[in-house]
Symmetry: D2
Subunit: 216 residues, 4 copies
Amino acid sequence: MYPPSIQKLINIFSKFPTVGPRTAARFVFYLMKLSKEETDEISQSISTIREKIKLCSFCFKPFEPARNASHSDAGGGEGELCEICKNPVRDKTLLCVIEKETDLIPIEKTQKYHGRYFILGGTVSRLRKEDMEKLRIKELQERIQGSPIEEIIIAVNPTTEGEATALYLERVLKPLNLPAGRQVIKITRLGRGLPVGGELEYADEETLGSAFESRK
Amino acid sequence: MYPPSIQKLINIFSKFPTVGPRTAARFVFYLMKLSKEETDEISQSISTIREKIKLCSFCFKPFEPARNASHSDAGGGEGELCEICKNPVRDKTLLCVIEKETDLIPIEKTQKYHGRYFILGGTVSRLRKEDMEKLRIKELQERIQGSPIEEIIIAVNPTTEGEATALYLERVLKPLNLPAGRQVIKITRLGRGLPVGGELEYADEETLGSAFESRK
Amino acid sequence: MYPPSIQKLINIFSKFPTVGPRTAARFVFYLMKLSKEETDEISQSISTIREKIKLCSFCFKPFEPARNASHSDAGGGEGELCEICKNPVRDKTLLCVIEKETDLIPIEKTQKYHGRYFILGGTVSRLRKEDMEKLRIKELQERIQGSPIEEIIIAVNPTTEGEATALYLERVLKPLNLPAGRQVIKITRLGRGLPVGGELEYADEETLGSAFESRK
Amino acid sequence: MYPPSIQKLINIFSKFPTVGPRTAARFVFYLMKLSKEETDEISQSISTIREKIKLCSFCFKPFEPARNASHSDAGGGEGELCEICKNPVRDKTLLCVIEKETDLIPIEKTQKYHGRYFILGGTVSRLRKEDMEKLRIKELQERIQGSPIEEIIIAVNPTTEGEATALYLERVLKPLNLPAGRQVIKITRLGRGLPVGGELEYADEETLGSAFESRK
């Protein structure tokens, strides 16, 4: 129904997260109303992202290295750390494992966590091999062996998928060989309880049971 | 539009919780299709409730006194206790204050709480005098002074109204004069955290902050 | 979990249309807070409905016969007509077949229909015999043969169930033998089109096609 | 919280229709996972749209002119017609005025309309001057005066905004001076009625009234 060049862009936008073909069509018609300067700015911003943004060599958080830093590190761009991992105030004995980049923002906003992060890159459901291979398990094991970590907080969603992922992480992290002298690492999970605005009457048993246990 | 006798019953049902005029009309037409035996059973069940169900003299939970019991207690029907308050296994040093009858069911289902309850009878919003007077504050104070209670768990919804109610309860319960020798009563609230099925990315700061603090 | 007399009433309310066990429990606790006068009024209103409300002998609409009328008609209470069927201004050549009592109200509110109604008493899905037997088909055929009807408007919901019911009605009404001299009856259905507040972009093909055909 | 180059792209995507900052962030992280070839393809497709897609000189529908055509028409690229306007089978006496590009698709799918279109470019609410100036009113008047149009179908959404737009169109189109000999133009609107899947009981009066009037 649409001309091929429009249909092609609709197909591209349909692959964006949360976007269906109808919304993709609206994106295309929106773009067609922009000036050349505006569409050029979009293309430019997309390629800037590719050039300027690097993934932190410790936690895999996307970040924009400072100009000076990138000069001095020129030979070893791969070894750069993001502003959180580089921050000397952050507690290096804590490591919070999260599924994806956007999970970091709400945790930082709580101002209750002052350790470092590790972005796992996905979740597993039903422990399928192909899902597991997408996770940065080997990298996580290397970080744990190479840093003075004492507690790993598995901060995944309390959903079925998140549970499967947490179980899998516990299974691969517990038997980890630590360098001599390193103390046993504690593996914890986020507390369950009633969320702000929730209603007791509609809470499931596990959530409400945890809310009783963590009362204070 | 409806005949007066139908309209009258629609008005009555419209006062039932969650029922609007359209649903009330559907109730009336449903009743009209029942046999005389069936509608008589409804009326009968409603008056049975009035006759058989008593409110527990400690916690205000509605319950049906056992026949024998009600005979032996004939002289003091008002003093009867529900099956939870009467249960010798229940921990009498714990008191869980809940807003309404239906909040008790999900808590019992968790099997994590083994103390007694107290049904407050409502919530307050903005601490208005008329709201406060509907709550069983005086009765709650009497229970606390007359029982070996060591911890009061304020188990209200973590909503704005629930928060206002909890603050009000803390204000009226903290200065309570206890009999000589009684230890100071601890007032606690249910733990906040991520509910089962929740998503970290959409959690509010307070909920997520509590989830970090109560990690385990 | 609830005492037997409460559980029994919860079960009764759970059978009311749109009511689940949780809402039924709220109804019971609501009733328990009413005075004896108030619960007596409910029981009284339910039995009044049984006594005062009759079904119209033509259209099956529930109505409350006027006192005088019911005296004079004492011998033949079954033959009484509702205020719509009795109204001499109503066009007796039109018959609007509706599924249930509550469908009549919105049609009357449009003030665009001035004929009589016939309440079918249900819908059929997949033309199952047990569903068809619940409909007042025989009575509908009698009304058509006994009245000067020229158009039958099948005013069922434009849903899959409504469509099946309309098809079934057309099948049983078309071959109907009419008294000699009676003209052929027209069978119509409500027009399809865009509802107020609808959006063209999300309309299905049939709805939008009808909207084009009935443009004016 | 995000690096400036990421934040800039989030801001750009936040201006896309239906996209908020959270979804915009997900778009950016999605883009960051693509290969250079894939992001280049997106930028390329966006600029292709700018180059290849033209707006039809009659109806303003975006279309991709055929290569040959664009050669032969080289001198008058502005005068090119889309495949619908060029189609000799289309009825030139009918003109369907729609708000936006995406409204054309569902109408074509009905296969009930065989005339031409005119994309108005927006709606007016409350007849504010700045809204009205965005609409292609002058162009619409020119099309009407220059074509053998006999009926204008105002196919806007049956919402408050759509109603205001339709009223405004009627006001500006009715007094239009037509060339001598041209017959009076009929202005129509899409029919109202029950949509497929709708329920009679919840229909508003206007929708249901129209459904009765357009019964068939």
